[in-house]
Amino acid sequence: MNEHPSFLALDRHALGASTPEVAAHVGACSVCRAHLDAVSVAAPIPPRVLGLRPSAPWWKQRWFQVLLPVAAALVMVVLISARPADELRAKGPPTAIAWVKRGDDVSQWKGAPLTVGDSVRFQVAPEGLSRVTVIDGTTRTVLYEALVKETTMTPAWTLDGTPGGDVVWVVLSNDVVTPAIIEACDGVAVWCRRFDLRAGSR
């Protein structure tokens, strides 16, 4: 090989996926060896990063472990609060649906039971409301909240088989809500949909 291998070939060589031609060239070429030496040295970590406090991976955090057990039942409720119903109807009611990712396939949740490894996220259409809050129904903790103006996707959560809470509330409102809102949710007139993943129906 008279010319230098490409950077792609050298990168593959550095990662152990070389070819005899590249290996032979590197053995005889100081320029390419210098490149490999350079890429094999880890870049120094910036001081500002070293000063950051490490956090547990998201899959080890309590909210995640509590949230997503195997064959969990999930109840998703969209709560209409603090605004007259007439105003909401001007654009139609709020909606919330669940999207499930299984492997590389993403589809709207139709009621089939979820299994370990499945990821779920919620798509909400606020329709006049301004805030989405996701609450762990078991621990009564807020998992996610954000201001929303239009159809929005929440973050995704993956079923990991950890036993724990099995109810999630998705609340749409104008005001900040606390987990206590779900205590009253069943007793007030709200628009809601129920998704029961354990039974595989809705």
Binding site: H4, P5, S6, F7, L8, D11, R12, L15, G16, A17
Partner: protein, 123 residues
């Protein structure tokens, strides 16, 4: 840019095949860089010649040529040109990374070279 690429790689999922991962990295990084350059070309003004020192004149000239190319060249041509001319990939390597035939690589490079030649004539 590197962070964006590796976040995408993480979301995509790591393959056990180093060749697959490296090909994806080159393709995605090139795609992102070209997108970013095109955004800059849309929103940035050319570097004023009056502010350029003699030492930077050549660099600035190359940069302006690149900005013009990004604005006028086809995205596929730019992908092939970056991989081939900047990263030094062979035509078979570029074809494999982009998932196209070597013949298409040659055709895109030829069109890119013609475009560069026309730009050089104009300038």
């Amino acid at each position: 840019m590197a962070q964006d690429v590796f976040v995408r790689l993480w979301q995509r999922g790591l393959s056990d095949d180093v060749r697959d991962v490296t090909a994806w990295l080159y393709k995605s990084a090139t795609h992102l860089c070209i997108d970013r350059l095109r955004q800059r070309a849309m929103h940035q003004r050319p570097v004023p010649q009056a502010t350029v020192s003699p030492d930077l004149e050549a660099t600035t000239g190359h940069r302006q040529t690149l900005q013009r190319l990004v604005s006028v060249a086809d995205a596929d041509e730019l992908h092939v040109a970056v991989l081939s001319r900047l990263d030094g990939l062979t035509q078979p390597e570029a074809a494999a990374v982009l998932g196209i035939s070597e013949r298409t690589v040659r055709r895109l490079l030829s069109r890119f070279d013609e475009r560069v030649a026309r730009l050089e004539v104009k300038s």
